[in-house]
Symmetry: D2
Subunit: 104 residues, 4 copies
């Protein structure tokens, strides 16, 4: 199971950073402000959790709870936008949130 | 209030890293393994929360909840050891956990 | 000396995150895209270096070199903008870059 | 190319955290202190670089230079130890250092 979780965390880290970059290149960047913020928050907590799982940290469940909530918030925001990068990010975040739920 | 929280998070980051370093120099490093692990977990979530507060992230409460729990776990472990660095770290973590509680 | 470096790194982390937040609230966010990107890069490398110094890492000089360059890039971008948050961030980054230079 | 670099960075992050965990479970933890320190440094700079690449940061080359040097230091230390986790980590770090060199 861990291998799948690690893959989903990695996918989510990459999707959030890709979306962050792409949002900053959009014509109406102002509309993407919340997306840019959440992409950053989400990528950072996913990175922390990915590392914590790989070293058998005793805090995996605590971090997974936070990660799940932040992934869900990022998915909710991204899903409002039609851009491909937002839709792809919403999908990665939703799957990652589901994977986190299994670690709690 | 934020300024105090930010100072306590910074103090906790520094105390945890100092304790990590000092534990690895102790004669009986094996006894300090859990302390070394928790010092790392605690410094990393404090760093994330410090940054999140400073940019008015919408995820401050979620991260503060995780940070509080990890600070408490680190304080509980460090307080078992008589080394000055462990006692100082336990104190910093306890105060930081209390500060986090006010952000939730 | 380390205490001053640590204070300048902390100031830079906070200034970069504050600037990131404030840039995303500006009327013309599109003009601030590079600033938003560099604020994030800069805060993250400063956070890594702050922790590395506090645990006597053998990689302080390597990280300080990277941190100096990223602080200088962020200062150069921020100094182009008249916003108070950009000017404050440019100042914090310039002082932090100077502090990093002494660690190399 | 980027996809390969990202895979090698991810492999290195996981190998370093796995080695960190396993070193702390070894009978003679004191002998592994430098390994534990370098595993942490290495995983953290790899995480930063992985994210920077994914968002087309202008600081990829600067971070890749630091990452290469830290990967090489971690590989040099890990290769001194016969434990499987150290040998696996040394291999992942060596390959990651080579990948970083191509980004500079």
């Amino acid at each position: 199971m861990d291998q799948t979780v690690q893959q989903q965390l990695t996918d989510c880290i990459l999707a959030c950073n890709h979306c962050f970059d792409a949002c900053l290149k959009e014509e109406h960047v102002g509309h993407m402000a919340n997306c840019i913020r959440l992409d950053r928050d989400c990528a950072d907590i996913c990175s922390l959790l990915l590392q914590a799982i790989a070293r058998n940290s005793s805090n995996v469940a605590v971090l997974a709870k936070a990660c799940q909530e932040i992934c869900e918030a990022c998915a909710a925001e991204c899903s409002k936008h039609d851009h491909d990068h937002c839709q792809a990010c919403a999908k990665a975040c939703t799957e990652c949130a589901e994977a986190c739920r299994q670690l709690i």
